[in-house]
Every structure is written in C-alpha cells, then in structure tokens.
Amino acid sequence: MKKFIFFTVLLGIVIGLFILAWPFSQQNSEQTTAHLILNDKPVGGDFTLKSAQGPVSLSDFNDKLVLVYFGYTFCPDICPTNLGNLALAYRQLSEDEKAKLQILFVSVDSNRDTPQRLKQYADYFNSGIIGLTGSKAELDDIVNRYGVVYMIHQEDPKDEHYSVDHSAFTYVITPGGELATQLPHATSPDDFVKTIRTYLTQTQP
C-alpha cells in the first residue's frame, strides 16, 4: 500500500513538472516572426497579382480608394473577422461611395489558395472584394514594401492543415496609389466607414 502511494506521488510529480515545463518549451520554438516588423513607414507601391479573372494591378484602381488586406482562407478567425467588419462597413456606404472604393484580399498562402478558391471566398462577403495571390517571390516583394509579416507555421511538411502567422493590418491606399495609413486588426465597421469617408472627401476633385 505504501509502495502504491509512493508511486502515485511520484507520478503526480512527473505530471506536474511536465505541465510546468510545457509553456516554456512552446515559447522557445515560437520566437521566430515577431522581430521582423519594419519600424520605417512602409513605401507601398504598385503590384500585380493573379485573380480568377486574370492579372490585377493596384494601378488598375488609380481612380479609387483601395483597401488591401493580407491573409489566407484557412484562417478560421482573424481574416473572417476583419473582412466581416469591412463588409459591414461597405453596407453603410452610399452607391456613390461604393463606386469609389475597391477592397483587395491578398492571400499569402498561394499553396492552398488558388485564384478560384479566393474568388469564392471573397464573393461571400458581398463587397466587391477581389481575391489575389501570386508566387512566393511576388508576394515577398509586396509584403516587404507594405510591411506585412507572414510565416507559414507547419511543423510537419505533410500537414495540409497548417496555419499561417500573419500581421492583420488593413492598408489604405489613396486614389493615385499612395499608401496613406494602416488600420489595426479588428477595426470596427464604424471606424472603417469613418476612414473611408475621410480619404474619399480628402481626394474629391
């Protein structure tokens, strides 16, 4: 009986130590992406990527205010929250305002997100959103210029359900293609509307 108690206690200690050690072991393996965020104001600039309807360039919308969001369709929460808020903002706009706005969703996960899949995804939000993606080289050039950070988090190369760490800013590009500002993750629909109206009136002829 004594032996049994001793063994149980020992087991408890081992489990306890394991639980204590867990968060540290996790932290150590995850300290990779965070330090890449650029402190300088990102330069932005034109880019061309693939959509289901063929190549699309930022400069195609030189007469519009453009909002660009970088993410991936596997994302269960962060991307749908942001695009959902954008969609709610879009519904508050007048027809005239809608006509002067273009929302772009750029997937940094082109392995899984084909242009067709992106179209299906973007159309769901019913806000004229165009889904775009490109090769890793094309994407990396753009994310560097916009200060986007992303990193594929895949421990097992065969795991098709990997997630992608990504920054979740919405980039505001004024008519003419200049990067004006970036809005943080989970910006409310009302704040999106406010920002859209601010930049639309600023650039009235």
């Binding site: 929460d77 929250t81 988090h153 359900h161």
Partner: protein
Amino acid sequence: MFKHTLALFAAALSIISVNAFADNAADIEVEQPYVREVPPGAMATGSFMTLTNMSDQDIQLVQAKSNAAKKVELHTHVHDNGVMKMRQIPAIKIPADGQAHLKPGGLHIMLIGLQDGIQAGQTIEMTLVFKDGSEKSISMPVKSVMSHSGHMMSH
C-alpha cells in the same frame, strides 16, 4: 526534511484525489456557444463560448469532439507585435469560481477539415471532454460573421 516534503506531496495528492471524485462536466456551465459560418470551400472555422466553473477547483478542458470536422483542436491566438499567431494548446483552464472566454481573436475550439455545409441556421453538435474524463454535449448554432448587423447573408 524528507518527512516534510512527503507531507506536502500527500497534501497535493489529496487534492488530486478529491478532483478525481468530482465531476468536472457537471460543474461547468456553457453559455452562448456558436460556430462561425465560413465562406463556401473554406476548410476551417472556430467555435466560441463562455465556460463558467461553478466549483472551487480549477477545471481543464482537454479535448473537444465533433462530427462536423475531421479534426477538432483547442487553440489560442497570440498577438505578437501585430502578428497573429494561432497555436494549438493542450488544455483550456477554467479557473475555480471563474470563467474562460472563448472569443474571436483569442481562445477558440477550431474545426479543421470541415464536412460540407457549415452554414448559418444549422446546428453543430460538440462534446467537451474535461481532464477527469467527464464529458458534456453541447449544441451550437452556426452564425454568420456579418450577422451582428442584423442582415443575415443569403445564399
């Protein structure tokens, strides 16, 4: 010294054994659970809820099961300098007499490899498994990410 330590472990053990007799599932109340509707073709979604612990012991949610997806995992989001990192976690702690909030941007139960038809208006069944092995079945409505406007998406 050894005696002292042993007493401490014995005390710890007694807490563990008290836990073993408790029924975690019965002590947990689940409020407002829902699954987020995803665009057609999307492979994953999150489920959110508030878990209230009515006992005076911490309770760990260690697993969730559902037929709606190939895999169901406990996850959290870590905000790291503006970068959103989603990570699987081994357990979600519901503190004694306290709550765990599963909400967008943070803790969630992730459904991966969705079977067809996660659409607003449907109900998803899920089983929560606690550390003592007890289980709790819940039914969750599927809600559109845009539903809080009052305009449901039509399909």
